[in-house]
Amino acid sequence: MMQTLRPLLLVWLALLALLGVELGGAFLRLGHLFGGLLLLPAGAMVALVGLFFMRLRHASGLSRGFALAAMFWLVVLLGLGSMDPMTRTLHPVAMTTYP
């Protein structure tokens, strides 16, 4: 039994460690651009939970396909969706408040 529980415990410890990294990063002055780097530990945590707690490693090929498809389309949504706002030349206007 311990053989099955041990990896889970190790993953849990790794998750807490990554959380620590994020928490520490929150108090560093990283600036607007590098602040986004703090999403990397979050990505690692998501991967750990998916692979171990949700057993993606042992899931059927189809299930893994679904998980990959979700990630792919998420990238499409975020990538193509932010392409326009990131490359736009915007001339903002003061808005009067709504009626």
Binding site: A26, L38, L39, P41, F53, S60
Partner: protein, 213 residues
């Protein structure tokens, strides 16, 4: 009649449970895109309103958020352990693990509600009377719109998860699961961990990334 009808279409129990788990994963894939739209809104809004987002993020309770993350990660661990136990046929340990999961989940929801209470008290709900008047008050309001929509939806998912958990616990208590037949435990576990995953992304977006900006 209907029952025969729906069971006989599978050739083996493994075929059936495998199909159900595939279905669950596909459902979770739709959930990814559901929250993905919110993350896109966050990305774009932060791009326009870095200052407002930074100021707003500094007004969030990172201590509560971090404790909540620990609670949720631990609850996922407990659930995964419970699943490992029932695979050995140990219903008693399964029940213990799932109860722990439930308690941690309830603690999460309570802390979250407490945090909301504080936020309302500090007039951080967007709209007239919004408390932050920094260089980019509009951006800060958009941040808090995002915050309330994101955490609100997450709480709804938590409540649904707690309901499912209660159902699994009830069935486990009645001895419905064995080492060979525990599809419901596994399927609900996927959902529970997924709600955890959503929080793992919301946590940095709300408490961490904006703060150093």
């Amino acid at each position: 009649m209907a029952d025969i009808h729906s069971t006989f279409q599978y050739s083996t129990p493994a075929h059936r449970s495998g199909s159900s788990l595939d279905g669950m994963w596909l459902f979770l894939a739709t959930e990814v895109l559901f929250f993905g739209a919110l993350f896109l809104a966050w990305t774009v809004s932060r791009h326009y309103h870095a200052a407002g987002f930074a100021e707003a993020a500094r007004h969030t309770e990172i201590s509560l958020g971090t404790i909540n993350t620990v609670l949720l990660v631990t609850s996922s661990l407990a659930y995964a352990a419970g699943l490992a136990f029932i695979e050995q046929g140990d219903t008693r340990r399964l029940l213990q693990c799932l109860s722990l999961t439930g308690l941690l989940g309830i603690a999460f929801v309570c802390l979250k509600l407490l945090e909301w209470h504080d936020d309302f008290y500090e007039h951080l709900f967007p709209g007239s009377g919004f408390a932050l008047h920094g260089p980019d008050p509009g951006g800060a309001q958009i941040f808090f719109s995002f915050y309330f929509v994101g955490t609100g939806l997450h709480i709804l998912h938590m409540l649904a998860g707690l309901g499912l958990l209660a159902w699994v616990i009830l069935r486990a208590w009645r001895g419905a699961f064995s080492s060979r037949s525990h599809l419901a435990v596994e399927a609900v576990g996927l959902y529970w961990s997924f709600v955890d995953v959503v929080w793992l992304v919301l946590y940095p977006l709300i408490y961490v990334v904006g703060r150093p900006g």
